[in-house]
């Protein structure tokens, strides 16, 4: 059973990846790409005289959120098994998790006070 489930999963992966790959091949149905400077240039409102490109360092400012995300998504990961088994864990479990959540909320408040959630 275990091996057949693996095989089944493999077949799923084959199809789920295969079909999009196949769709990719349709590019050969179209005309052969021709090249010109203007066509190959990245689009920037029709201006050809560009200053810098998209590979330069880009200010992250409010993308700081990504870091806060890691913190809170880990929290969710911890909470998932807890939530599923809550009935068995009972009151003790809930008090434990509330302490955990309380700590994280305190963290959020700290971040909030520090201004990391201000983006303008």
């Amino acid at each position: 059973m275990q091996s057949s489930l693996l095989l089944a999963s493999a077949s799923v992966a084959l199809i789920a990846i295969g079909v999009p790959l196949l769709l990719h091949l349709t590019k050969f149905l179209g005309p052969k790409p021709t090249h010109s400077t203007a066509k190959d240039a990245p689009y920037e409102s029709g201006i050809t005289h560009l200053v810098g490109d998209a590979n330069e360092r880009f200010s992250v400012k409010y993308y700081l959120v990504a870091i806060i995300f890691v913190l809170f998504d880990i929290e969710v990961v911890f909470m998932l098994p807890w939530a599923v088994n809550l009935r068995e864990l009972g009151l003790f479990g809930i008090m434990e998790m509330f302490t955990f959540v309380g700590l994280l909320v305190a963290g959020l408040l700290y971040v909030y006070r520090k201004g990391a959630l201000r983006w303008s």
């Binding site: 095989l7 992966a13 990245p42 689009y43 599923v84 809930i94 998790m97 959540v101 909320v105 909030y112």
Partner: protein
């Protein structure tokens, strides 16, 4: 070869075909519904009721010249279009899209692979799809795409947290991550739907669903009036098409999830065998529920402007997230009481 492999293969082919096609039909219905709301005709030239528009669009996408800008990272540029479609297709594997039914004496379970942590699997795979806009935007070598990627990531990341937190409260009630168990929990009619027990979680999850599928009012990563298509500015032909298929498939994933978790899924089935719903009625109900959410997606698109990145952040972190935490605490207290 094992029967299960043949069954799985058939199912996955059906699922992938159905949802690729749904991507096409989705665009058609979206355009028709939008047109109705906007007092115009929508597609009505190609074929009866413009139905062949889907085929015309397909031919157009298939035969477009394949342009990759010169300073794009070719490999990642192409690879990123795969991620979103593959992720969306894979997510369907763990979603029960129909009640159990019997054909030629063979009982077909309506799920490609019954993972006992189905919900976790679906959410995890959907989160992988997030790499698509990020990589697409960063590999295009285009400043608009870069802005789009940054916007996409910040929106998806924020709402990933909301999705996770909002789903916790229903899970506490059900005590299982299997979508079939969640569906079984709500069986027996409209009174048992999760939405009555968890209205806040329902609203939060739905809002997060709009954000995760890049739909208005959270469609800021591809707003063409602002950042010219955002991360898919440089994409053309089927590469663009795959991103669209992925987005529409994602939309259906969210519609299925909301229907199954909060609106009773196919719980209105004709009969219940071994604690599982069986029969065609439940399937039709589920399809209607999914259709309702699809129309809701389109309706919201027609009705509202879209918001600014900083407003989206504000909404996610300062309004929805505290609400989700409070909801969990309340649910916990009520359960213990």
């Amino acid at each position: 070869m094992d029967a299960i492999i043949i069954e799985t293969l058939i199912k996955i082919v059906v699922v992938v075909l159905i949802f690729s096609a749904l991507g096409g039909f989705g665009t058609y219905f979206e355009r028709k519904i939008l047109a109705f709301l906007q007092r115009r005709w929508g597609p009505n030239i190609v074929g009866p009721f413009g139905l062949l528009q889907i085929i015309a669009d397909g031919i157009k996408l298939f035969t477009k010249e394949d342009i990759i800008p010169i300073n794009a990272e070719r490999g990642i540029f192409i690879f990123s279009t795969l991620i979103i479609a593959v992720a969306a297709f894979t997510a369907f594997v763990a979603i029960p899209i129909y009640p159990q039914f019997t054909v030629f004496g063979y009982t077909v379970r309506p799920i490609v692979i019954d993972v006992n942590v189905g919900l976790l699997f679906v959410m995890g795979v959907m989160a992988v799809g997030m790499y698509s806009p990020l990589l697409a935007g960063m590999s295009s070598g285009n400043k608009w795409s870069l802005l789009g990627a940054a916007r996409a990531v910040v929106a998806l990341l924020s709402f990933e947290v909301i999705t996770g937190l909002s789903i916790l409260a229903p899970l506490m009630l059900v005590g299982s991550l299997s979508l079939i168990d969640i569906n079984a929990y709500q069986m027996g009619g409209i009174d048992n739907w999760m939405v009555w027990q968890q209205p806040i979680a329902f609203v939060l999850f739905l809002i997060a669903g709009f954000a995760e599928t890049n739909r208005k009012p959270f469609d800021l990563s591809e707003q063409d009036a602002e950042i010219i298509g955002g991360y898919h500015t440089e994409y053309s032909g089927m590469k663009y098409g795959l991103m669209m298929i992925g987005e529409y498939a994602n939309m259906f994933v969210v519609a299925f999830l909301v229907s199954i978790i909060f609106l009773g899924g196919y719980g209105e089935a004709g009969s219940i065998v071994n604690g599982e719903a069986v029969g065609a009625w439940g399937g039709i109900w589920l399809i209607l529920k999914v259709a309702f959410f699809f129309i809701l997606f389109v309706w919201v698109r027609a009705a509202w402007p879209h918001i600014r990145p900083d407003q989206l952040m504000w909404l996610a972190w300062k309004v929805l997230m505290p609400l989700a935490v409070v909801n969990i605490v309340i649910t916990g207290i009520v359960m213990m009481a």
